[in-house]
Structures are given as structure tokens and as C-alpha cells.
Subunit: 259 residues, 6 copies
């Protein structure tokens, strides 16, 4: 039995044994992106990795080394890519990474992959990369499937109600807000500086994008809503409920692919 | 004054005169995609073009020739790209088209572009292409901005309520449903075959994607919800309200960029 | 039986039935390109589409949605890509479009494709795209073939003599000239403004290209020869003869591939 | 004064001195392509290089190291890329080579480049590469121009008449025929094996391409017309006349770009 | 003063302040690669990151989030990319990552970057990416320079002699051997399993590569030489000496670029 | 029996016969790169070609037309790509060339290829291209293998000692030095100008690269060490010994792949 759910910490022999036994691979996908003055630049990396570790535990999987750098931050979901600290790849590069990793894990003998996304803007590019790779593998008769998801899609409405008490601003402006800050307070309190939270009103963003961005649309904090109401307790609740919903959905899906 | 809002029907001299007077360019982006047995494959093309024509009328713009083929249909928003009739480009190609057209219209002297999207899956790739092009143009000191939007984001909640009477299934399963069918009945009734609508329950799709798709998740019709309740009157209402909201938003934004 | 030869106007179920019966797919390829003060920017699109419709009628095929934007206009065949209104893709993008569409129609079950070109500059890039796709399909044992042609190669010498009465300037300078204008007068008279024809001598262009172009080599009209002698009658003759020659050539070729 | 017109044989110091004096760079572009049983695979390389050397002599230029491998042979101009010995690059690679070399020679300080093409199929891809590079250079204010030509476009009608005596089959089927064989007999007789010429009728090729090619359309020799009538004398005449016409055209064009 | 040398653990405001003060950015580049039964798959990541942290401390820099996945393992330096666990990117993807990160850090205002490589095979691709980006930046007048190095090039001969006592097998077969194992024993002993070291003779590899690899050339351990002689003490010595040499070289170079 | 070991000088029929008999293909890879005032720009091309001809003679192979232009010169191995005369491709282009040629020779029926490199900087990009192509061919069941080598790796220590008498400066600074000059003096004395050798001390280059390069690190000659000690006799010895070692290694490897 592997000594860690993190593939990167295993030696190759142990890793190969786990794959031979059918362990699914969970690939956390984050970003290096400003999250205001109170959260670290790697928030999306460590949250997707933490969610991945819980999922791995639940389904007997392994967590791959994360995709650290993600797609460009967009103003309506992450404040915009003009901001200092936000360090992004372009579409072609992220697509290639997703495609190549799918092919590499398939070469190792893995049959089931989960791209666990922690940065909104990544999704369509992960999809394209995984689509290309699984289509190529199908063409050559290899049975490899990939599940793609963003973890916040597994936060249920009751939990939202419980945490936000009716003032949920919408996922679109949840960048650096209550969800991420609470999860970080629970998981990595040493990386959070709650005293630096800027309690500003949620951003008012139009129903379209404009490029180049009009920088004044992003609040001074870089966050799209206030993290004032964040708490360690909310983080624990979010992690528990979301991990559970994720594990249920993924294990149900994986069961459908069994021989 | 141009004899048509459609750039493609103008001769070059007339077109150049309009650009010289500052006409914004609206680029409709569609797809060739199955929309069930009752709607034509070019539904997304003709609807984005029609929305574009109304917007052009309102803001003194021109409608560019459409981007006809779009990104791969995804199961949760369009039934999936495995379906016959759906004819798609990959990400790199759509990104290049958006980037190149932005640069070409800038070369003509256009300063304001609107990508008016009619196919959900296109959005992020249009964004990447427009982002690349506007960044290049900025680097060389050219003042060119691009607005990106999907037209259904301008349908307001009252209209949804009025049309769906509380049974709105969500935009995610609106593929081939009441919205698109009503608009087509109003605009292009000759292309609609209402007798062929398959009145099936809305699709139950998971909160993730899986690739290769499990084909059984898409209803037999290829539509994600029933178009039974569609009507010409609903289409007229949708077109009027959405066109109006679109025109207001775009003209407000354009006013901000004036010298 | 399909209600239209235009694939884009069919619903997916009707389209699939036609493909299942072996209908070849004809893909019109145009451009958005200046054609002087008397012809619309989409001349190459609508002419290739019209030729395609007649070919489809003759061979029981379907006309795909057109490739609207084409390769850069070159000075010796289209006046040059520096001219306002001309809106072009680069080589890589057009190659990708041709490759991807070939693969998509093959996925639908189509075995015979015809790229019907209406813009001189496109040809080699369509060839590369179709070559890549058919080679990939062959490698995987799929019997898919693609025919590539430019419609003016099917205008016979008698017709040229009949129309030009000895003053045929050569296809190279036929941009915006008698051929295209006559066809447009016959097919889409509402898009032609004959009163705006500029009756200038045919362009004198060198036997080489130079880049950046020397703009003064292109006549002020943007046309490479005068359309003065164009007529609706000539257009009808050209369409009839060329359609017939096209249909004969393509049906003969297709017959060779039958099982 | 350089000891050779061939850049590749010069040392860097001598080369730099020539560039500093304004020497134009002539880039021969060939292919490795079957030319029947009597001509070597590098026919297009050595002929474009020989034409380049004469042009360099006439205009005080230098001949760059050749682009040895060219674009895929097409059936209607080179017999097809399915034939053994024909060794080709794809479009993207040839475009990159043309683009990169243009940028590199510009970096050296060269202002005038001539792509001298010896393989029909290359032309559009050289054009794209040179177009991209000269556009980039213009954008940054660099005055660099590129001339693109295929040498046979400078064979005049009198010479054709003199050599073919009324039986000129057209440039399209001149692959491995009288022109190339005569030039090789004159320039590189040791590489020609006249006894192996296969005297077959000119190929009858359709007015379209079909992919995959129908191999039976290419004559057994791989040549599209017979080289029977080739002679050293015809080669000398062709070389003299064509070189002269080339030199006149290029020097006239270059004079237009002088400050 | 930043609370961490690791950029990813800083909030954006703190990061921006450090950049504004001129902090160089050090980008560790690793790989996910088998390193035998005794070392974890992320050995190259954590070692380059550790070296980076020491360098950052010495020069007042920040360590960027690492490039986790690297170029394909080659048989002569890493055992080969056919081995399970080794998870690699292709050349184009790694080049893009290096290029894009250089441009992103330049956008933040960083002027001096150091790519600190921990996986032999990466080097040329990092070079290409950094070369492209710095050339683009120069073209637009931005003063950004990048240093590229592999850390083992800073191990001096005395240290080698001290550690290997005359039996240094050469860097080429140092994969999973004494150097990496000693460093890991010193830095991350909890990730090393010394009891699993396979004490096999150093690999005998030819002076060329062959593809596909002949798998039998790689020792069963996946290591190219034995780690038997590794020790925590040797690791400490290597880290101290190498860090010192690195810091001296980099600070000397950076001093040359000061205004 | 072919009349030449150079494929490019053979006609297609003779070439095909040689391939049918199992002749391996040797692909020389050079560069157009400054080599000081005494050596021509094509030094790497002609030396790799000459080594290839000897290898072909020894193993019954054919020498393909060379890859003439190579990857960017790097300061630590070739003086840097900022120098006039050095004319280079980027990574993507060289990778594509290596990949495409491998696929083309495989299509001809060749099973064994040797990339014989004569320019240090090329190696990793040739590797990537050959790796991609051989992997694709394997996937489709084709038995094609490629050997990759740089010829100086076959110069043995005794020869180095004999020629340099203890003052060997290392391969890294052997650019334009004793090895290349001696080989050229032996093989192509007419291209060498020994009187122009600049007898400067070997370059002192750091253990890292910096980009943009600091031009002052490259000696004025462009050579990294002095060619003063070069001689025709040393060239003969180097050629004999190296050719022999190369032939032994390659023929041993090829024997392992025989059925």
C-alpha cells in the first residue's frame, strides 16, 4: 500500500504497483493568481490538491503532481490577467499539458483519470486537451476515460445557504471570497492573513468581457467579493460536504466503466 | 449610407467609408450543430447573425460575415460532438480565427469589435483569440477593443419568467429547447418543423464531463430540453427584449471608449 | 428526400439519412475580399455556393456550410491583402479548417468530399488540409476521398472565346472582371451595382510577387481587369457550361471509387 | 570581393562585408523529388541554385545555402507524393523555414531577398512565410523586401517555340521533361542518364486533384511528359534566356526600392 | 519583507512590493521521473526548489512556483521515457511554458530571471523558450534578462573528489545515484528509502541514442549508477558548496546588468 | 549498385532499389554558422556530410540530402546567434524537419536511419523529432529505428591526446578550433584560409547561459578556441579514427535490430 496518496512522493516501483491495481489518477489543476492581500498566490493549487487528496482517499486513487500554472485570469472570474502576481499560461500551452498528461498516464497503464479543477478559467482548455487525448487513445483501441470537474460545482445549495445566510453573491464573484478563504483557513491557516481582508462590496461586472480590460472594474483588493464572513468552521463544512459529494459522483461514474 | 448592415453584401468602397466613420464591427459566431429533428444545423449561425443585425441597427455598426463553424459540442450544453451533423473545429483553429479576424478588422481601421456568440462552447476560445490580438495591438500602440458576449446572457429574469412560467430548466439544458425554437419560429419559420419536436424530459446530466462521452446521457432527440412550449410570440418577445438589452449594454460600453 | 441541398438548412435527422444513403458533401470555399466598387465582399462565397448547389443537384450531394473566410489576397490574383475590406485568414488556419472539416464529415459517415474553391489563393492550403486528413483516415483504414477543384478550371475554351471574343486577359487578372461580374449579374443581380464598374485597363503585373506589395501596381478599382463587358447572359452561359463540366468530371471521378 | 557567389562557401567576415555593401540574398528553393529514371533526386535543388548563381552574378548578390527539401509533390505537377524517393516537408515546416530565413537575413542587415523557386508546389508556402516575416519587420520599421518567383515563369514564348517546335505540353506536365532534362544536360551532364529516358506520352491529368491519389494516373516513369527531345543545346539556350530575363526583372524591381 | 522566499506562498501585494524593489525571480524546473526504488518521483522538483530557495536567500530573490513536469527522460541521462512513473511533456509544451513565464514575470516588472534546472533533458527547451521571450522583449525595448543553468554544473571538482573518492562515474550516469540521493537524504530524508537502493554497476550506455529505446540498456533499478555510497553528510556538503558557487556566479552576473 | 552514396545524386529508380535491399539512410545535419575568418559558413554541413559518406561506405548505406540550416548558435558552443552569417532555424522548425524526414524515409521503406549531427545545438531537437516519428510509426506497427549521434563523441581520448598534446580545451569551446579546421584542411582545403586564423586564447565562458547574450564574451574571431595548431595531418587522423569508431558503433547497433 502506498505510503502517500501523492504520486509525486512515491518511488516509481510503488507507483507502478498502485497503477497495476487499477488506481485512478486525480490531476489537480490550479493557477498562480492574485487572491487579494490575505490569500497566497497558490490558493487554487493547494485547494485543488487538498480536494484531490480527499477524493483519492475515498476512491483508492492517487493524486498526480499538480498543474501549477493555469489559464489567464479573466476579469469576471478572477479580476483579470493584468494584475501583478497573476502568472498564466496561454490556451495552447494548457491544452498541450492536459493532452500530454492524459497520454502519459495512459502509457503507465492508468485507465481512469480525473482532472480536478480549482481555477474557473482552466476548464475549457482542460476539456480540449483531454478530448484530444481520449479520442487518440480510442482510435487505437485503448480504454481510457477522463472525468473533468470544478470542485465548487459540488457545493450543494443547503451548504451555500448555511454559510452565506442568503447573501451568496454567485460563483462568478467568489474569487478570493468566503469560499476560498474559509477553505484556506481550515486547511492552511498559516498561509492566510485574515487581518488583511479588504471588506469591499462585491464587484459589479457587466454581462460581457471587454479586452483590453478596463482595470477600474476590478476592486482594489483584486477580490470580487468580500471574505469578511469567512471562517475556519465554514471551511471545514465546505470541505466535508464537497469532498463527500465529489467522492459519490466520481465513484458512481467510475463504477459505470468497470468491466 | 450602406445599403445593408451586412458587411459581406457591401462593396469594398462602401464598407471602407463606413469604417472611416467609425462603425463598430459585430462578428456573429455560430456553429453547425445538431439541434434535434425540428431545427436546422445552422441555428446558432442564423440566430447570432439576426441578433447582430439588430445590434448593428441600434449602434450604427456593421455585421461581419459570420464565423460559421464553432467549437466542439459538449454533452452538457449541446448534446456532444459524437452526434451526426454536428461539425466542429478544434480549439486552436477557432482561437486563430478570432485572433486573425480581430487583426484584420484592425488593419481596416475598425476600433471597436463585438464578438456576438451564439454557441455556448465557443466562448473561451473566442476570448483567447481576441485577447492575443488586442494585446498585440496594444503593444504596437493601436487602440482597438473587443467586446465578447453570448446573447442569452442578456435575457432578463422577467422574460424568463414570462416565457417559462416557472419551469425554466436552466441555460445549460436550453439546447434545441424553448429559447432557440421560439426565436427560430419568429425569425425563420420556414426552417423550423414544429411537428417534429420530440417532447422529452429535460436531460439529467452530471456536474462533470466524461470523455469519451457516454452517449446514453443525451436524449434521443439531441435536444437537452423540450421545445414543446416554444412559440412565435415567445420568439418575438425574446428577440425584442434581448436586442434591447444588448444594444444598451454595448452602446454604454462603447461610449466609455470614446476619445 | 432532403428539402434543401444546403446541409445547413437541414435538421440533423434528415442530414444523417442523406449521408447514410451515400450523399457526397460539397464544401464551398470562398473569401471576404474586395471585388471593386460594383461587387460585394462575399462574391467568392456566393459563387462557390451557387456552383456547389448545381453540382449537388447533379450528383445527389449536399452543400456544406461554406468556408467563408479564405487565404490572404495576393496582388497578382486578387489585388493584394493590404486593401480595406479584404479580410483573410493565414495559411495555418485555413489548413486546419480544411483538415478538421474532412475529419468531421468522415466521422458522420461521408465517404466522398468535394472542396469547391472560389478564391484562387485558397487552393494549396485546402490541398494541405485535405491531404493531412485523408492520409490520417487511410492510416486507420477509412475509405474517404476528397476532390479539390477551382470552378474556373472548368470553363472551356469555346465559352471563353464566346464571351471574351478574343480579348480574354487570362485567369490571373480575372479578379472582379467579366467572369465574376457576369455570374453575379445572373445569380445575384441585387448585389451588383453595374453603374459603379470602373472601366480601367487590365493590370500589368510582373511575373513575380514582391512583399510588402507595391500598392501602386493594383488598379484603383481593386479589380485586375474591367468588368465592362459583363452581362447577365454571359453569366447564364458561364454557369450552365461550367456546372455541366463540373458535374461530368466529378461524377466520373466518383464512379471510379464505387465499390 | 567575395571569392564565391555562394554564401555557404564564404567565411563570416567576408559575408558580412558583402551584406554591408548591400548585396541582395538569393535563396534557391528546391525539393528532393523523383524525376524519372534519368534525372537525380536533387534536380530542383541544383537547377534553382544554378539559376541563383547567374542571378547573383548579374545583380551583385549572394546565393544563400538552398532550402533543400520542399513541399509535397502533387500529382498534377510532380507525379505525387506517394512515390519512392520523393522526400517532402509539410506546409507548416516550409512556411516556418521561409519565415525564419527572412528574419535571419534581415538580422544580418540584408534588405533585399529573392526566393528563387525550382519546385512548383513550394510557391504558396514560401509566400506565406515571406509574407509573415516582412509584415513583422514592417511593423518594427525595418525596410526589408522579398521577391518571390519560379524560374520557368521567365522562359519566354519564343524560346518555348524554338525548343518545343509547337509541341509544348504546358508547364503543368513539364516535370522531368524537356526543360529540366535539357538544363541538367547542359549544367550537370554527369548526373543525367539520357539512355534511361522513358519516352511515354504526356500524362492525361484531370482538372482537379483527388486525395488519396489514384496512382495509375502517374506514368510509370514518374515524369509527366517525355524528355526525349531534351538536348544540351536546348539547355544552354534555356539557361541563357531565362537567366537574362530573370536578371532584368529582378534588377528593375530592386532599383525601385533604392533610397 | 516577504515572509517566505517562495512566491507561491506570498499574497499578491507582498509579491508586488518585492518585485518593485528589484527582486530577481528564480524558476525551479524539475520533472516527474522515476529515480529508482529509493527516491520519489519528484526528486528533480524538490531539489531544484531547494537550491532555488538558497539562491533566493543569497541574492534577495524570490522562488517562483516550480515547473513541475519536464521534458521526456532520455535513456542516457534518465533511463528513458518508456518507464512507468516518468511523466513528461513534449518539447513544444516545455518551450511554451518557459517562454510564457518569462513574459509574465516581465509583465509584473521583474527584470532578472534565473531558470534553475534540475532535470538534464530540460535545458535546450528552456533555452528556446527564454530566447524567444527575451528577444521579443528586447524588440519592444524592455530590459529583461534570463540566466539559465543546471545546478550540477556548479559542483566543483574538489567536492566530486571528496565525495566519490576517485570513482565518479560522470554526470551522464548520475541519475538516481550518489548526488541526488545524498541531497535528498540531507534535505528530505522522509522521502528516501535507503533500504531499497539497488546496488548495481553503472549503466554502460553507447555514445548515441537509439529510438525506440532498447529497454534492456537501462538497469532494472531505473538508476544509471548506484546510490550505495550516498550519505546525509555528502548531501550537506554538496548543498553547501553548490549553493555557494551558484550564489557567487549569479550575483556576479546580476551585478553586470545593474544600471 | 548505386553510382553514388549520395541519395540526392541518384535517380529514383536506383534509390528505390537500394532501399528495397535494406540500405540504411544517414541524414547529415549541419548549420550555416560563422566559424571565424578562416572557415566557411557551411563547415558543419560539409563535415557531417563527409562523415556520413564514410559511414555509408562502411555499412552499405545512403547519405540523404543534408539538413542544411540548424538550430540557433549558442554562445557557449558556437559563439551565439547574434553574429552575422549565422543563419538559424528555431526549435519547432528543426523538430518538424527531423520528424517529417523520418516519416518520409519510412514511407519509402527504409527501416534504419542515422541522424549524424555536426552542430552541437541541434541534438535535442533532432531527438524530439525522431522520437515523435518513431513513436507514431511504432503505434502503427512499423519497425523503424533511428540512431542519433554527434560525430565528435566518437573521437577517442588517445586521438585527442595525440592531436592536442595535453592542451585539449574541451569540446565546449572547440567551435572553429583545431578539430574542425584540421578536418576541413584535410577534406576541403580550398574552403579554408589558414592565413586568416586568429590566434586568440580560448574563450572563458560561464557555467550558465544568459539571454540576451553579452556579446563581449565571444572572442572577436567568433571562434571559441584557436585553430593555430590545426593541420591537414591531424584532420586525416581525426577522420580515419572517427569514421572507424562511428562505423563500428553503428554497425554493431544495426546488427541488433536484424530479424
Amino acid at each position: 500500500m502506498p505510503s502517500s496518496v501523492y504520486m509525486e512522493e512515491l518511488d516509481a516501483f510503488t507507483y507502478r504497483a498502485a497503477i497495476a491495481e487499477g488506481a485512478p489518477i486525480i490531476i489537480p489543476v490550479g493557477s498562480i493568481e492574485q487572491h487579494g492581500p490575505h490569500l497566497p498566490l497558490n490558493t487554487d493549487v493547494v485547494l485543488s490538491k487538498a480536494m484531490g487528496a480527499r477524493l483519492a482517499g475515498a476512491i483508492g486513487g492517487l493524486v498526480a503532481a499538480p498543474i501549477v500554472y493555469g489559464y489567464k485570469s479573466q476579469q469576471r472570474s478572477g479580476g483579470g490577467n493584468h494584475l501583478g502576481g497573476t502568472t498564466s499560461l496561454d490556451a495552447a500551452t494548457l491544452i498541450s499539458i492536459a493532452r500530454t498528461l492524459t497520454l502519459e498516464f495512459a502509457r503507465h497503464g492508468a485507465h481512469r483519470l480525473v482532472f480536478l479543477n480549482g481555477h474557473f478559467e482552466n476548464y475549457q482548455f482542460l476539456y480540449e486537451g483531454a478530448e484530444q487525448a481520449t479520442a487518440e487513445l480510442s482510435l487505437h483501441g485503448q480504454d481510457v476515460s477522463a472525468i473533468l470537474l470544478s470542485y465548487w460545482d459540488f457545493v450543494d445549495e443547503d451548504t451555500i445557504e448555511e454559510i452565506y445566510c442568503g447573501s451568496f453573491p454567485g460563483w462568478d464573484v467568489e474569487h478570493g471570497g468566503v469560499l476560498e478563504t474559509s477553505l484556506m483557513l481550515h486547511l492552511y491557516p498559516e498561509l492566510v492573513r485574515p487581518d488583511r481582508v479588504m471588506d469591499l462590496p462585491a464587484a459589479q461586472l457587466p454581462r460581457y468581457d471587454v479586452l483590453p480590460v478596463r482595470a477600474e472594474l476590478t476592486p482594489e483588493s483584486g477580490c470580487l467579493s468580500s471574505a469578511k464572513a469567512a471562517s475556519e468552521a465554514a471551511g471545514r463544512l465546505l470541505l466535508e460536504r464537497t469532498s463527500k459529494a465529489l467522492a459519490e459522483a466520481v465513484s458512481t461514474e467510475l463504477a459505470l466503466w468497470l468491466p
